[in-house]
């Protein structure tokens, strides 16, 4: 090691000694400090996926509709009419813990850039959020800040936040999760990629000036947290949605001129990442001079300029001779596009400072040739223990009425309107199903179509069984989309896990990816991209393994979509799918008995597929008035949720017991078990007959369990009424539970 680059310097850069050796091999010499910095950010877990790549390769990524799979700024699927749905999910977990508002806001900004960079106009945002228990002031502060940040950015720029999901569990107290999905629409023949091509083509920089903020953000996101993490606050960037709005409009306009060869946003690892990835994808070299980069502060070193993660910046490669055209578009938006470099015929990224060469690195060494680890894996020794639960050992079961009232007030189940009423969900005039629905639905203007999107992931299930938990996440997300009448056409995933250097975490990761792959293959949903967030630990306490799946579905006729709410009194309530009374990993066990234990619900992918196809077909021909997927809280909560926001329509159900009626656990297992592959629909008359007939043909169990009407929720198990509550009273509890908690200091 040289005098400058010693052990301490390597550690600060998050590089292992063997990685440093590899850098020396590649360069045939020692790197200078700038080069070391460039390698450190590009080889960070965040940018290189070095621990996850071997597993991610096993995911299904192709299909007849896939136009762009993983590896670009975002995925794209063909939705007909010459259009593509462009979408991706990304995390901003670590920054959101340190600075909730800005961490969340810049997370939204980052994923929006990934979408418009592809030439797509963003039309919707969804988020998947995890916080600690709201009983603590810290969790309430982080929740409040993240919600304000998500809203602050999306609302300003004018992209509606149309849906999402939020869980609370003490395991996320020191490590909240902020995953944001953005969906856009592009003309298929106008999709732009992030590749540099054409020797001599100018490389332009546009957007905010470069400052010293966010240096080593990617490295921070690749390490665990401890009590010194607050010192990392300068590594969190500050967002400027107005600048992003200008960039978005200007980039969409400039791409239509045909003068743009490729473009990419400067997100994690900033200018280093954009220059090396664009040239690596295009198989060319690039020269840039940092002195030409617009700077916010004076005296910035090349190291700082190349590693800064200042927000709202883009890099463009432009056809030579078309510079003026590009500059004019940006000038219209009061932005200044500055040429900072040129595409070369070489294979290296060369960085200059006022003409003096300060770094010279093969582009592929920074990208494709980053280290690849097959990290050791081991099933945790505690795994078999948590997967078992003996109900009898939990004492007497709670009364069904008490359990019902507790569950509808649980923040995991209660309405999230406290959060989504801070999100503009009507801007854009495309939102057909608002936040709070099973899936968000946006119409596609100029067509009869709509897109349904859902993000789902139950970390608790994945902790209890990562393979099955991940399959359940895929199934639930696709089922939610199906409940809106849409056929799933593609998915994106955000894999949130702990420290991959621990074999137990790596085992969870590998099992989860295997589960996603198996479920996606069975349900024929290609993964078109995503994000991996590792090192989600604070003081060595990992989060639950939390894969979040975002599934996008296509509705050929937007007017056919249905929502979860009952539409009229006197309709029959039908349960599609088997009620198996599975309480393992349920919200009931957590809320009423304080246990996160047991086997998560079984999943038969053939049955799941049959159920989803049935639901989609039934909605397409108008056989059902409403559809709602059974999830946390089981059948009782699902039926109640069909009454909520319906204008007070009640329901009376009698549900067959799933166990011997003399079993003390029978009623609660029947009502609150979270068996998967179930959907509650409402229908009547001739349509009901046709629905039941279609279900029988599809091999899906269908049972009429009750009728809508009255102003009460009345649920019986084997003829014995166990839950009775006025809809208005239950709805008030459910709708205001989070609001009431957030009013605490």
């Amino acid at each position: 090691m040289s005098a400058i680059i010693d052990q301490t310097v390597l550690e600060r850069h998050g590089l292992k000694p063997e990685e440093y050796e590899r850098i020396q091999e590649i360069l045939g010499r020692e790197p200078n400090l700038l080069e070391l910095g460039m390698f450190s950010v590009m080889w960070s877990e965040h940018c290189s996926y070095k621990s996850s790549r071997v597993h991610l390769k096993t995911l299904p990524t192709t299909g007849p509709r896939v136009v762009q799979g993983p590896g670009e700024n975002a995925g794209a699927v063909d939705i007909g009419d010459g259009l593509c749905a462009v979408f991706k999910i990304e995390s901003h977990n670590h920054p959101s813990f340190i600075e909730p508002y800005q961490g969340a806001a810049t997370g939204v900004g980052g994923i929006i850039r990934d979408i418009f960079t592809m030439g797509a106009r963003p039309i919707g945002l969804l988020n998947s959020l995890r916080f600690g228990s709201l009983d603590t002031a810290l969790a309430r502060r982080i929740f409040s800040g993240v919600v304000a940040g998500v809203g602050g950015y999306g609302n300003s720029i004018g992209i509606p936040t149309i849906g999402g999901e939020i869980y609370f569990d003490s395991v996320y107290a020191g490590n909240p999760l902020v995953n944001v999905l953005c969906l856009g629409i592009a003309r298929r023949d106008e999709i732009v990629k992030g590749a540099a091509r054409g020797e001599g083509n100018p490389v332009f920089y546009v957007g905010a000036k470069t400052g010293r903020d966010g240096i080593h953000g990617a490295t921070m996101a690749s390490a665990e947290f401890d009590d010194r993490s607050a010192e990392k606050r300068p590594a969190v960037q500050v967002g400027d949605p107005f600048m992003e709005k200008l960039l978005m409009e200007a980039c969409l306009e400039v791409m239509r001129t045909g003068a743009v060869v490729g473009l990419q946003d400067m997100g994690a690892a900033g200018l280093t990442c954009a220059t090396s990835e664009m040239s690596s994808r295009g198989g060319c070299g690039m020269d840039v001079d940092v002195a030409l980069v617009p700077q916010r502060e004076t005296g910035m070193a090349p190291y700082e300029i190349m590693l800064s993660e200042s927000q709202e910046r883009m890099l463009l490669v432009v056809e030579k001779g078309e510079e003026r055209q590009v500059e004019q578009v940006f000038e219209k938006w009061d932005l200044h596009a500055v040429q900072v470099g040129t595409v070369t015929s070489g294979t290296c990224l060369r960085v200059f400072d006022r003409g003096r060469l300060v770094a010279d690195v093969p582009t592929r060494a920074l990208t494709d040739e980053a280290p690849l680890y097959r990290r050791p894996m081991r099933e945790p020794e505690w795994q078999p223990r948590v997967e078992r639960v003996a109900l009898e050992a939990l004492g007497a079961p709670a009364s069904a009425q008490q359990a019902f009232e507790t569950l509808i007030a649980s923040p995991v189940i209660a309405s999230k309107r406290w959060a989504y009423r801070q999100f503009d969900h009507t801007v854009g005039t495309n939102t057909i199903a608002e936040p709070g629905a099973s899936a968000a639905v946006v119409r596609v203007k100029g067509t009869n179509k709509a897109l349904a999107v859902s993000v789902d992931g139950n970390g608790r299930y994945c902790y209890l069984n990562p393979y099955r938990g991940a399959m359940l996440a895929v199934a639930e997300s696709a089922r939610n989309v199906a409940c809106a009448g849409a056929e799933p056409v593609g998915a994106t995933n955000n894999l949130n896990f702990g420290n991959p250097e621990r074999p137990e975490i790596m085992w969870q990761f590998a099992e989860a990816v295997r589960g996603i792959g198996d479920a996606c293959r069975a349900l024929e949903i290609p993964i078109t991209g995503g994000n991996v967030s590792l090192y989600n630990e604070t003081d060595r306490e990992p989060i639950y393994p939390t894969p979040v799946l975002g599934v996008v579905g296509l509705l050929e006729d937007a007017s056919r979509t249905v929502t979860r709410q009952f539409k009229r009194a006197g309709a029959s309530v039908v349960l599609l799918g088997d009620n198996l009374g599975e309480l393992g990993g349920s919200e009931y066990l957590v809320q009423l008995h304080g246990h996160v234990q047991g086997e998560p619900p079984l999943l038969d992918l053939d049955r799941e597929r049959a159920l989803q196809r049935l639901v989609i077909a039934a909605i397409r021909v108008g056989l059902v008035d409403s559809a709602h997927d059974c999830a946390e809280g089981g059948l009782a909560v699902t039926v109640a949720e069909c009454c909520f926001d319906s204008g007070g329509i009640g329901v009376n159900c009698d549900i067959p017991a799933v166990r011997d009626v003399n079993d003390a656990w029978s009623a609660n297992a029947t009502l609150f078990g979270e068996s998967s592959s179930r959907v509650v629909v409402s229908s009547d008359g001739d349509r009901l007959e046709r629905l039941l007939h279609a279900a029988a043909e599809a091999g899906v169990v269908a049972a009429v369990i009750g009728r809508t009407g009255g102003d009460r929720i009345e649920l019986a198990v084997n003829d014995e009424r166990v839950i009775a509550m006025r809809v208005a009273d239950a709805e008030r509890v459910w709708a205001t539970a989070i609001e009431r908690i957030m009013q605490r200091a």
């Binding site: 602050g152 609302n155 107005f242 409009e249 009423r421 801070q422 999100f423 969900h425 801007v427 939102t431």
Partner: protein, 234 residues
Amino acid sequence: MKFAVVVFPGSNSDRDAAHAVSVIGEQAERVWHKDTDLDGADAVILPGGFAHGDYLRTGAIARFSPIMTAVSRFASQGGPVLGICNGFQVLLEAGLLPGAMVRNRSVKFVSRHITVRVERTDTPFTAACYEGQLLRLPVAHGEGNYFADPETLEDIEKRRQVIFRYTDDRGNVTTNANPNGSIDSIAGICNRDRNVVGLMPHPERACEDCLGSADGRIVLRSVVKAFADRLIAR
């Protein structure tokens, strides 16, 4: 008839406004804020958004945009001007409407459907409504808390310049039905000449049934009716 929809760099509802105009079968043209003339428009919409980033005060810088001179001239000649949300804020800052806007009472952004009651039908944007008509419209703003000093308030009430008020779904003014704390539940006002109207709710986002409400169409149809009536009067 032709609507001009002004586009400030941070406007985010300009496309929505233009789309809504086309839904009611009329023509809309988006006019860039650096332009200096309205290109023969018959009505002007200042759309929602955050015109210039609004880091100072909402709408504070927009009034200096070149197009605003043309908008002021158009208004002074009696042309119908509608400011929606941020557009309302711009009209207040430009002095075309009285009063001011402050942070919502909750200090939080509020996004949901609310009900407004039509108070007056003698403006171009309520001409097709009946007095007391209830409209279900979405709001989406962080600074929609309308404020006016007692003198101004008395004046605008006396001159019947309050055009829309927040009410519950039966038409009663209540504290709960007021989403942002606006004084006297004021959701929209007009100028003394009644041709310039500003409101916080978004009629342009409620022009199709699939969006949850089509009540906003009547606001746009009103101006078409007023225009037609004026043509007949000529």
